[in-house]
């Protein structure tokens, strides 16, 4: 078991031990979560609606405090050093978090500055960034008037302008056409190639199969973990989609 804490900078990017989240009203959204995500990994978090994926990510980003258990992200404990974590991670939420009434460039500039980029360094970084993502031509367009695919790219650009060590993507490709999805995954692999650790949730099984390792959540429990190959072998299913359905059936059976 990897140790949790700030003492091991090269330890896994994410380590959780017995993490649990109970909301007001007693709903247990996440329970007994033990996870380790290696540095530089593209890690997929799968599970049906309401299984606790977003809650998990929000706890790791410091948006929610775990009710019990310990978690560390990029070497820092989420409960003790949330500020240190914030500077080193990027987060793209299910809702993108863009300002509709700011232009593409203004959104980028705002988030880059909030992450501590200034002056010439910022301008150069943003120009390069927009070029890579193909946003240069749209720089003066209001974010609210962008199509879904471009919004998604802009959100990714905003979340990565400060070159974070770790990136959390919550259903980044929901409602986006296949071409945009493919382009998006190309960007994700580029980021991973540069050493960024990526945690991504998705409901698309073809995307799940692109991840190096997967975790299955159901009703807040971790019910499967491993590489795509391991998972297919272990559960003796032809595709990840079959595993998904099979696991959910089992878990619901256990609950009943």
């Amino acid at each position: 078991m990897t140790s949790v804490g700030a003492s091991a900078p090269l330890a896994d990017a994410v380590v959780t031990e017995g993490v649990r989240k109970v909301f007001h009203g007693g709903l247990v959204a996440v329970d007994h979560l033990d996870l380790a995500i290696h540095r530089g990994e593209v890690f997929g978090l799968l599970g049906p609606n309401g299984s606790g994926k977003t809650t998990t990510i929000r706890m790791l980003c410091g948006l929610l405090t775990p009710t019990a258990g310990r978690a560390s992200v990029v070497g820092h404990d989420v409960a003790l050093e949330p500020e240190l974590i914030r500077a080193k991670i990027g987060y793209m939420s299910q809702r993108y978090g863009l300002y509709d009434d700011l232009t593409v460039y203004e959104n980028l500039r705002f988030y880059a500055t909030v992450y501590g980029l200034h002056g010439k360094a910022r301008t150069e970084r943003l120009e390069k960034h927009m070029e890579e993502i193909g946003l240069t031509a749209l720089r003066s367009q209001l974010a609210g008037t962008l199509s879904g695919g471009w919004k998604q790219r802009l959100a990714l650009a905003c979340a990565t302008a400060h070159e974070p060590e770790m990136l959390f993507l919550d259903e980044p490709t929901a409602g986006v056409d296949p071409a945009a999805r493919r382009a998006f995954w190309t960007s994700i692999y580029e980021l991973a190639a540069h050493g960024t650790t990526i945690l991504v949730t998705t409901h698309y099984m073809d995307e799940a199969e692109r991840c190096q390792r997967l975790a299955f959540l159901s009703r807040g429990h971790l019910i499967g973990l491993g590489t795509v190959k391991e998972i297919l072998e272990h559960f003796k299913q032809p595709t990840i989609e079959d595993v998904f359905i099979e696991l959910q059936k089992r878990d619901e059976g256990a609950a009943a």
């Binding site: 948006l63 500020e83 991670i89 939420s93 809702r95 978090g97 500055t113 909030v114 992450y115 501590g116």
Partner: protein
């Protein structure tokens, strides 16, 4: 890192920058800054006339003498009555009042001059459309004033001595007794309350609704920077509004501005902070922008009624007066009217200032704590 760099690279600046861009593009905010002051000013400045003057009056002069004409003159000079015509009998008089051509009528009986000449009490009559109690009380006051004035003149003419007592009323600060002078400084207070609370609460709720607040919280921006960056632009909006209202008030309503502007702008700070605090508090309770607006307007109502904005607080029942003491606007109105109309300084205003500062500190502490909790 040096202090200068720290200041320059503070995460407060991008927040401020973003707020200003958004404000520039948001029509509602722009309207609130410019249109709302103008509309409020004209609405309240013109429409709220608590002083009823220039009642349209017809005269039924059955005496037709020098004395009766002198009485009519005196009546008109009180400023409470405007002559719109003469009628020749009671039926016409009734007609004039019923049709609304006049709301008062002066009746001088045939024996009016004769009675004066013989040293008897001469009678005259004022008939008022008292459906509106404010106009009737104004008419009564005006009529009594006229009778006293004319009576005193007649007596001193008769005895060829000066009148024994000459009581002169000197209305300070608002010598013409115009209600606009009383209302317009209040418009500043009421506008600041509406705008600060409404803009603040809706702007924050909007960030929460759109998910940008969540996005902000995962960035390294500190909570003080976040809140300051969010609130400081509204302080400026408040000052712009205040300046617009004062300018228009001076231009349109000839509002006197005798006190120190520097002091007024300074003492406005605790009031703005208090209002922003209330707005912040509302944003922690409201689930969406519509709710935020509803809460804001709900908070406005007691402010309009109980703060002394329109209705004088001394005329209220005690419990209403006590409730009024819980509203920051009550204190701010004292400051506004004190400085603008009376030109008083901090020595006379330390009580409302202290009360406002205490209120501002408390409400800000509570709302910041609640706000921090809602964003965990």
């Amino acid at each position: 890192m040096s202090l200068v760099t720290q200041f320059r690279e503070s995460r407060f600046w991008p927040m401020l920058w973003k707020e200003f861009i958004q404000m520039r593009r948001d029509r509602l905010t722009f309207l609130m800054m410019t249109g709302l002051p103008a509309v409020q000013l004209v609405l309240f400045g013109y429409a709220i006339q608590t002083d009823v003057r220039h009642l349209k009056t017809v005269v039924l002069d059955e005496s037709r003498t020098a004395e009766s004409r002198a009485l009519v003159n005196v009546m008109v000079n009180t400023g409470s009555f405007d002559l719109v015509g003469a009628v020749s009998d009671r039926a016409q008089l009734r007609d004039a009042i019923e049709s609304g051509v006049a709301s008062a009528a002066l009746v001088i009986p045939p024996d009016y001059e004769r009675n004066i000449k013989r040293g008897r009490t001469a009678e005259a009559q004022i008939i008022v459309d008292a459906a509106d109690p404010q106009s009737s009380s104004s008419a009564i006051a005006g009529a009594q004033l006229a009778a006293l004035a004319r009576g005193a003149t007649i007596i001193s003419e008769r005895s060829r001595t000066a009148p024994p007592i000459d009581m002169r009323v000197r209305p300070w600060y608002n010598p013409e007794q115009r209600s606009a002078v009383f209302i317009v400084p209040g418009v500043i207070g009421i506008l600041l309350t509406i705008t600060m609370i409404l803009i603040t609460s809706t702007a924050i709720v909007r960030e929460r609704e759109r998910g940008t607040l969540e996005q902000l919280i995962v960035t390294p921006i500190s909570k003080p920077s976040l809140m300051l960056g969010k609130l400081v632009p509204f302080v400026l909006v408040g000052y712009v509004q205040m300046t617009v209202v004062m300018g228009l008030g001076k231009l349109i309503f000839r509002i006197p501005t005798v006190g120190s502007f520097a002091l007024l702008y300074l003492l406005t700070i605790p009031f703005i902070v208090a209002s922003l605090g209330v707005g912040l508090l509302i944003s922690t309770v409201a689930r969406n922008q519509v709710q935020a607006m509803q809460f804001s307007f709900f908070f406005m109502l007691p402010n309009i009624l109980l703060s002394g904005y329109i209705f004088p607080r001394v005329a209220m029942p005690l419990p209403a007066q006590w409730l009024g003491l819980l509203l920051p606007l009550t204190y701010y109105l004292n400051i506004l009217r004190g400085i603008l109309l009376k030109g008083v300084g901090i020595a006379q205003l330390w009580r409302p200032t202290l009360a406002l500062s205490v209120f501002a500190t408390l409400i800000l502490l509570i709302s910041v704590r609640r706000f921090s909790k809602t964003i965990e």
